[in-house]
Amino acid sequence: MIFERRFLLGALVVAILFPLLGWSEYVIHVGVLIMFAIMLATGFNLIVGYVGEFSLGHTAFLGIGAYTAALLSSSLGMPIYFNIVAAAVIAAIAGLFIGAVTLRLRGPFFVIVTLCFAEVLRIVANNWVSVTNGPMGIAGIVKPEWMAQQSALQQKVDFYYIGLALVVICVYFAYRFVYSFLGRAVVTIRENRFVAQSVGIWPYYYSLLAFVVASAMAGVAGAFYAHYVSYVGPEVFGFPFMISMIIMVLLGGKGTLLGPVIGPVIVVLLEEYLRDFKDLRFSIFGLVIIVVVLFLPQGLMGFVAARREQYARK
């Protein structure tokens, strides 16, 4: 707990100071992507790592958040702050409904049904042209007015700090969740459902709570993404985002708080580095997943945590 707190604070300081070192626009852009990825990974980790169920439909909430922001911005001209909050709320409500349905199932059934929901949303987004503009998507999402006069570099730095603020909020909520009776309940359910029930924990309720929190985080990430990229299309419900989330959480270490912070950094950097090898990139991701599953199932931070426990015992 203390190690984590120190690590997170240290990382926060580094993150705050980072843009001041005068990097190029591209580097700041990567920084923004990392912020986006950490928001997503932190939420996803709550489901995969703490509830212990594997959701292949988390992009549903990313997409819902993104489209919410896009629609509010382009149709009603709402500003970014409102949109982010609205996206969180709407994604949370969606999480409540979808979670209420899917969390009745477990194991592969849960995996498949969450995937089905994400796919349905993608098909709807692709076909409901009157609202979502179909495959053309919604473009021209405006950045905040006070950014309008700034240079491209400065705009990216602004988004970086907005992203960082959102990341701090997400990680704070995740931290509080994990170290409260909520986190304990969810871990108990994950480790042994029978024990959880026999001590009075209602598995459905606590899993749903975690699911809703994770959905809200994904919604926030989606809204952030929408305003940064200024365009939202049906591919936001697509599998590539899901793959990234899986790798980030797996590699970083599911069921840890630092995992979803470290994982995205590594994966985003890896993705950018491999950008030249455009198609090879995903092949390598496939290999990475296989290797991590076979040889490092606890991910990096899980491995670190296990080692530290060994030392502590000595």
Binding site: R184, N192, V195, Q197, S198
Partner: protein, 253 residues
């Protein structure tokens, strides 16, 4: 306190439990015995909501809990352990017991995210209670050991500790002495006797270890082939020819 009325459970063509009735009063230790396959664990499952009875009723403190889910039954104060050791294997002893303290560590979800002083005090109290319980059960030396690394006897004790941690009024233990040697079983018996009236109001045991059963129980209920064979004091049961026959078969003429 607990009233079991004619519960029956059919699994397809097999009747695991048929018309079993008994009651448990405050301050009592009741043991459920019978040969393997008699339906004892099924009864446990029926009482605590892990199975639904095909017919019959279960009442606890006047409330009909027949159709309740397991967690609701636990919330009312009936906590059970399992025949096959069920703990949280990857967590250590302290974490296991702390996790079971759930009902006592609850706050509103909002407070979980924005904990004030009250929550911090409660968290500390819950932790202290867990440590205290671990001491009572004699597991203090292993408090930081992962559950999966414990010996069989210690595991059984941990299971009891976890169940106790949930704060039950009626504690139901399924074969707590399984795998324990004579000494360990005696020690467990001492701990169990002290529990009633202090930490719990009543105790229901399923047990094969007869000396443990005879030494701690006020009453014994005997099951055979899913039916209640008889009910009585430990002496009555020990000397009953039907019970002997159920366990050992008819004497050779």
């Amino acid at each position: 306190m607990l009233q079991v009325d004619s519960i029956t459970k059919n699994f397809g063509g097999i009747t695991a439990v048929a018309n079993v009735s008994f009651a448990i009063n405050k301050g009592e230790v009741v043991s459920l015995i019978g040969p393997n396959g008699a339906g004892k664990t099924t009864c446990f499952n029926l009482i605590t909501g892990f199975y639904q009875p095909t017919s019959g009723r279960v009442q606890f403190e006047g409330i009909d809990i027949t159709a309740f889910d397991p967690h609701r039954v636990a919330q009312l104060g009936v906590v059970r352990t399992f025949q096959k050791t069920n703990v949280l294997p990857r967590l250590n002893v302290f974490e296991n017991v702390l996790a079971a303290r759930h009902l006592h560590g609850e706050t509103s979800a909002l407070r979980a995210f924005f904990p004030g002083r009250a929550v911090r005090v409660q968290e500390q109290r819950v932790r202290d209670e867990a440590v205290d319980l671990i001491e009572t059960l004699g597991l203090s030396l292993r408090i930081n050991t992962a559950a999966e690394s414990l010996s069989c006897g210690e595991l059984r004790l941990l299971e009891v500790a976890v169940a106790l941690s949930a704060g039950p009024r009626l504690l139901m233990l399924d074969e707590p002495a399984a795998g324990l040697n004579t000494q360990e079983a005696e020690k467990l018996g001492e701990i169990l006797k002290r529990l009633v009236g202090t930490r719990v109001d009543a105790l229901l045991l399923v047990e094969h270890n007869m000396s443990l059963v005879m030494s701690v129980s006020h009453r014994v209920v005997v099951l055979n082939f899913g039916r209640k064979l008889m009910e009585g004091s430990p002496e009555q049961v020990r000397n009953s020819p039907e019970v002997i026959e159920a366990y050992l078969g008819k004497p050779v003429e």
